[in-house]
């Protein structure tokens, strides 16, 4: 919302179908103090109005204007969550001054704000700390319903804003938000396909490989410490693992003759499902990371590839042409009980939602578009209908958002995000070259 229009958030409250799911979390998991505000959300099916003044800076100078810029990062995070209607760009509230806080929030409360967020930012050299204080503006005295201190190295100050946003979402839904996450992807801006990494909102983009070969298919390990990917850095397509936050060498995960592709970490992080053609044609295998042993899961004389784990780790979705054309199948994690999910079209890129209820995939019926289907084959639905091709979806860890690639704009493929029902599609990258093959990380520690 724009500055100078503090009442504007009363207008344009949007019905939010997805909210029902978000609020159906077990009551025990959420802050009981937030019940009043939750009722606003649950009964009205509207966004919750929250006012976020600039964060108050104490304990050090703020030449970069972090109090203002970080509050805006949090505001954008909460807007992106689709759960909140946010008013920001409001002057900071003096720290430790209840009267000033009441005075600052009173007008917003009268105008319909449900919640107010105060952030107190302490900057001291190489560390930065924020104390977030969340107030219920529908209650007398603007009751404090949540408070938390978060500290990070000064170089990661932007993450403080993301963590505050995730804590606010936790207070109201029982599950943390997804702002403190990264997106790994493939960028061709340098002329070759290299891996890149950025904040989930597109900030802080940086290349993490620079070997001038072909690097594709990055996927995050569940602990967010490493990325598995296929690279031609040694000439042939081998599977590697790198540690983008650590000064640690790249490891070879699989270097067999043929292809070593399409990695997918098991939810417990102990195994990687992948595609090898060492036995003569592309089959899905399981690599035990502790022992280094490979176990073959599929047996078909044509293509089997693109494994994707169910969040329980008990099943794996994959692509096979065993039924003619490319279709999505599901098997158990030992390779047995194969069943077919899709019936029509040319279907690839199964991506199992972290909530387990949906397998997203890419279907070619003319152009390429994103679809969803239940693991039992029910609830087949289309998520995108152009423009251009829409492919390569990756789920946010809460299962509410997807990042995907589209060539809907001139200049080739870039990354976009949308809600799980296909609404609220918006661009994420506008980088030189093409940006593709996104992998949305789990929440950072």
């Amino acid at each position: 919302m724009r500055p100078g229009r503090p009442l504007g958030f009363l207008i344009g409250l949007v019905l939010l179908a997805a909210l029902g799911g978000a609020l159906s979390s077990p009551p025990a998991a959420r802050s009981q103090a937030a019940d009043v505000l939750l009722n606003v959300l649950a009964t009205g099916a509207k966004k919750l109005n929250i006012v976020i003044p600039h964060f108050t800076v104490v304990g050090g100078a703020d030449p970069q204007g972090l109090g203002r810029s970080l509050s805006q990062v949090t505001a954008r995070d909460l807007t992106f969550s689709s759960l909140f209607s946010v008013v920001s760009d409001v002057p900071p509230i003096a720290a430790g001054d209840p009267a000033a806080l009441r005075a600052a929030f009173a007008n917003f409360a009268a105008a319909g704000a449900h919640a107010g967020l105060q952030g107190v930012l302490t900057l001291r050299g190489d560390r930065a700390e924020i104390e977030m204080r969340l107030h219920d503006l529908t209650s007398p005295e603007f009751r404090l319903i949540g408070a938390k201190k978060i500290e990070l190295p000064a170089a990661q100050t932007r993450r403080l804003a993301h963590k505050v946003a995730d804590e606010v979402v936790l207070q109201f839904t029982g599950e943390a938000g997804v702002a403190d996450t990264k997106v790994a992807y493939v960028t061709s801006g340098s002329g070759s396909k290299e891996l890149g990494m950025m904040d989930y909102d597109g900030a802080s983009a940086a290349r993490v490989t620079s070997n001038n070969s072909i690097n594709i298919s990055p996927v995050w390990s569940p602990d967010t410490r490493s990325l598995a990917f296929t690279s031609y850095m040694r000439g042939y397509p081998y599977l590697y693992r790198m540690f983008p936050f650590e000064n640690r060498p790249v490891q070879v995960l699989a270097g067999f003759l043929g292809i070593n592709t399409s990695p997918a970490f098991s939810p417990d992080g102990r195994a990687v499902a992948l595609t090898l053609s060492r036995d003569g044609n592309p089959e899905v295998y399981l690599l035990n990371l502790a022992s280094g042993a490979f176990r073959r899961l599929t047996t078909y004389s044509g293509i089997d590839t693109e494994p994707s784990w169910s969040p329980t780790g008990r099943e794996i979705a994959f692509v096979s042409e065993r039924a003619g054309g490319a279709h999505i199948f599901v098997m158990d994690a030992e390779g047995a009980n194969v069943r077919r999910l899709t019936q029509a079209g040319f279907n690839t890129q199964p991506r199992w939602s972290p909530k387990g209820d949906t397998i997203g995939f890419t279907s070619r019926q003319g152009n390429f578009d994103l679809w969803g289907i239940g693991p039992d084959g029910s609830n087949l639905r289309r998520l995108t209908a152009g423009p251009g091709n829409n492919e390569g979806a990756s789920w946010a860890p809460n299962g509410r958002h997807l990042v995907f690639q589209s060539n809907r704009l001139a200049g080739g493929y870039q990354l976009f995000t949308m809600l799980a029902d296909g609404t609220e599609q918006q661009p994420l990258t506008r980088a030189p070259g093409e940006s593709t093959s996104a992998s949305w990380s789990p929440r950072l520690p």
Partner: protein
């Protein structure tokens, strides 16, 4: 039967040659060796590109498991192969990897030339830009393999042939049209003297 190139080198034990003759029945996985535990000491499991001149991943040789056969030699790097006018590309239909009748004649000519010398040959499998990187890598692999199998069927020794899939990563034609896509769905040949 499987043809293995080279002797029992322990250079890159994780590499297992999968050069089968056309029509050979599938064999069980030859688990000659395994990847290093990724959580182990980083030094022995590095693949830093500058640290090794070996063609394959620089991995600590682990002992070949008894009874599983010796690890194979690594193939030459793709960059060691050279373009040649003597071997013509063959092309494929969308999402297919069977050799078309007209292309079989091209391959017959390629096979005849290969039998006049003993050079090594690298068969690249390529796809058009449509579809996913991962599926196209599998499809390119199948195209290269089908091409290799045809040549082997014409009497070219399997142990002279290495295949590599580039999926859709290396198109020769970059327009977004069927004419262009048809040029990209191909098997391409390079050679290396030995």
């Amino acid at each position: 039967m499987a043809h293995r190139r080279g002797s029992a080198l322990l250079v890159a034990p994780v590499l297992v040659l999968s050069l089968f003759l056309a029509g050979c029945p599938k064999r069980p996985a030859t688990t000659a060796a395994s990847a290093p535990p990724p959580t182990g000491a980083p030094a022995p499991s590095t693949a830093a590109p500058s640290t090794s001149g070996t063609p394959g991943p620089a991995m600590t040789p682990s002992p070949a498991a008894p009874g599983t056969g010796a690890p194979s030699a690594t193939p030459p790097r793709p960059s060691e192969f050279r373009e040649t006018d003597n071997l013509k590309d063959v092309f494929f239909d969308f999402d297919r990897y069977d050799i078309r009748a007209s292309d079989a004649r091209v391959l017959d000519t390629n096979a005849a030339w290969l039998k006049t010398n003993n050079s090594l040959v690298l068969i690249e499998g390529h796809c058009d830009e449509r579809g996913t990187n991962e599926y196209n890598l599998a499809l390119g692999e199948r195209r290269a393999k089908a091409t290799m199998n045809y040549l082997v069927g014409q009497g070219v020794q399997a142990n002279r042939i290495t295949i590599i899939s580039y999926g859709k990563e290396r198109p020769t034609c970059t327009e977004h049209s069927e004419a262009c896509w048809a040029k990209n769905r191909r098997a391409h040949f390079l050679v290396k003297a030995r």
